[in-house]
Amino acid sequence: MKKERWIVVIAGIAVGIAALLLQKLGNPANMGFCIACFERDIAGALGLHSAAKVQYIRPEIVGIVLGAFGMSVARKEFRSMAGSSPAIRFVLGAVVMIGALVFLGCPLRMVLRLGGGDLNALTALVGFAIGVALGIVFLKKGFTLRRSYDTPKAEGTVLPLVLTGIFILFLAVPAVFRLSTEGPGSKHAPVLIALVIAIVVGALAQRARLCMVGGIRDMMLFRDAHLLWGFVAILATVLVGNLALGGFKLGFAAQPIAHSSHLWNLLGMVLVGWGSVLLGGCPLRQLVLAASGSGDATVTVFGMMAGAALAHNFSLAGGADSVNEAGALVVGGIGTNGKVAVLIGFAVLLVISLVHSRLKEE
């Protein structure tokens, strides 16, 4: 057991260092990794949305999946399974993505932002914890998406193969994709370095079963701090790294790719916490599960990409804070569409939670 805890801590430290490194090498600030943002960028590069500033084939997503796939095969943990309410998972993935893009980050980026001194991530963390607690209420009421079943091996290899195919095409003929020339999508570490770093992170995340929602969930549900150690290790590493490298900037206003619209930061992450508990893991964990053979997690990832497309096609995503010509702060946030989408997201999660809790009693 002791060894397992060390593995989680080491994986957390490695993720933290990798994030700092990727930021130093060109990724946007406080965005060494952001599973939601990077899947959104890939969706944009594929033309699923046309927000010109957030389109890029992020090698980090490809690398995490390939690293986790390799580790799961090496440890004989790869098992192709599917059938646990895939359509519901698709919808949940989309809702989680919309919530994440309202806040401008997945739970992993929330930790990275916190480590960079962005106090909006603290607001988000409160919302995230509330969301996790809501999810747990339904887990205790018997919520389940039902079991999955063994499938032919090909099912479990879909995400690694699809991403590898897209990535090879990106290396060979980048012009077929829509790639940002300005904005966050244009800021990235060198492709192959990012890929290699992410492969290591993916392998470690699979080995340690890192999950940003799992730490808080297991603490609330079982008083088990095991996964929370990973969460804390990432935060501590990034905090120390940012302080040492001068990337630490404490405050709410005008943080990098962030807005200080507090209520919506909070509510966006309530959606993410709640939805992730229903899915059984955060967006990072979904990638790792998909790479380990889960067809259900693969569908979730596709659902997240669809959610990202909706978020940008219907202007649901948060806009960052900015400073105008007069030097005054213009608080970003979300428009009416985004607010309505968050409320619809809550309604969707509530219905799914209730319906699937009752099913258990049949």
Partner: protein, 67 residues
């Protein structure tokens, strides 16, 4: 016996927790199909004072919990 095959974490642990709370059994068998569930159920059971024995059954795992 609890059959938690096909379920992702934390469901297998939630099922074991429910059973332990309900009847505090001296012995309990849990069938799971992935390593993650083996680790998580084992950790939970150990924290609850159970000894855990893991038997591989084909591609599945039978966990024997006893006090």
């Amino acid at each position: 016996m609890i059959d938690a095959r096909g379920l992702l974490c934390p469901m297998p642990v939630v099922m074991v927790q429910k059973e332990v709370k309900k009847s505090a059994p001296a012995a309990l068998e849990v069938l799971v199909d992935n390593r993650c569930a083996v680790d998580n159920v084992s950790r939970f059971a150990t924290n609850q004072g159970y000894a855990v024995q893991v038997e591989e059954q084909g591609a599945d795992f039978l966990l024997k919990l006893s006090k």
